[in-house]
């Protein structure tokens, strides 16, 4: 019997494509965020609010990832931004290759911010680098305040936490302080925003921060 020692990452191929994507984004000076969360947390609503507020301030493009339908791409297209829909046909996460193919169909020149909205799933997308500058995890109050403890990899791999649907707090057994505390135990470096896409609470703070980050990338 012989043993061949190879010591390599299982997702090396994905990481190599992600590196290629990152280089393409760097050359085009595009700031790229990978928006992740469980289904129904309000990723697309937050994106719509962001597109509305950043209109005329930041040139944005969007890659939408879903298991099925182009419903999200249609919602986003109303804001007159370039959008490509990836349908994974059952795939539970986006991989770097899918993003590379999607971006190849876009004209990135002049784009300052690319938002990749991942498939709604709090587990699998955590493992896949797409070439983004950062992952932004959206956690809605209706999911409860224990999610960071139950799904630590996603919160650990994100740089920003957006706590969405804060308008519903009076009706829920979810405490913002506990949600934040749990998230910060898993990832003490998280930047946290609190938003409501119905009342617009916190949307301007979130968008101002995002615009500033895009500015730093120029």
């Amino acid at each position: 019997m012989s043993v061949l020692t190879i010591e390599r990452k299982v997702l090396k191929k994905n990481d190599e494509i992600a590196r290629r994507n990152r280089e393409l984004f760097r050359q085009n000076k595009v700031f790229v965020v990978n928006l992740v969360s469980s289904p129904g947390s309000g990723k697309t609503s937050l994106l719509e609010k962001t597109l509305e507020r950043l209109r005329g301030r930041v040139r944005v493009a969007v890659v939408e990832g879903d298991v099925q339908t182009d419903l999200d791409a249609k919602r986003v297209a109303r804001f007159n931004v370039p959008v490509v829909q990836i349908v994974t046909n059952g795939g539970c996460h986006l991989e770097a290759q899918l993003v590379e193919d999607a971006v190849a169909t876009m004209d990135l020149s002049g784009i300052q911010l690319l938002v990749i909205e991942n498939v709604g799933n709090l587990v699998c997308p955590a493992n896949y680098d797409l070439g983004e500058a950062m992952k932004i995890v959206v956690a809605s109050t209706t999911e409860g305040d224990d999610k960071p403890l139950k799904y630590p990899p996603m919160f650990r791999n994100a740089s920003v936490l957006v706590i969405n649907k804060i308008d519903l707090l009076p009706y829920l057994n979810c405490t913002i302080a506990v949600l934040k505390e749990n998230a910060l135990r898993v990832n003490p470096k998280l930047t946290v925003f609190e938003t409501s896409c119905r009342t617009d609470a916190g949307i301007s703070q979130w968008c101002d921060w995002l615009e500033e980050r895009v500015g730093k990338n120029a």
């Binding site: 019997m1 012989s2 043993v3 061949l4 020692t5 190879i6 010591e7 390599r8 990452k9 299982v10 997702l11 090396k12 191929k13 994905n14 795939g91 539970c92 996460h93 991989e95 587990v123 699998c124 955590a126 493992n127 896949y128 403890l149 630590p152 990899p153 996603m154 650990r156 910060l184 135990r185 898993v186 990832n187 003490p188 470096k189």
Partner: protein, 120 residues
Amino acid sequence: MHELSIAQNVIETVKQHIAEEDLWRVGSITMRIGELGGVMTDSLEFCYGALTADTPLSTSSLRIERVPFQIECLECHRSSLNERGFAVCPFCGSGNTKILSGDELHIIAIELNEAAETNI
């Protein structure tokens, strides 16, 4: 179910390192997976078995070593284990920590059976 995609990547890696005619000799594939790497061992083994059935790799199997989640505090310089994946230093409470291990997803080694042994 990203374990299916991970199993596909494992098979691809094996094929990159082992010649087509020697694939049937592959015995076990040693993997190192972090406790908080977000991968289910049972599910990964199931997917690997399903993907390799009726192929030259059908008699091979995964040998999975789990690695505990460990952090190092950059303030008090002590390291600690935490099975829940908390990255706050339990000694001084600092959040300025570095993850030492626990999120690995690596293939370490491929074991090959001798041609003469099995090829009777």
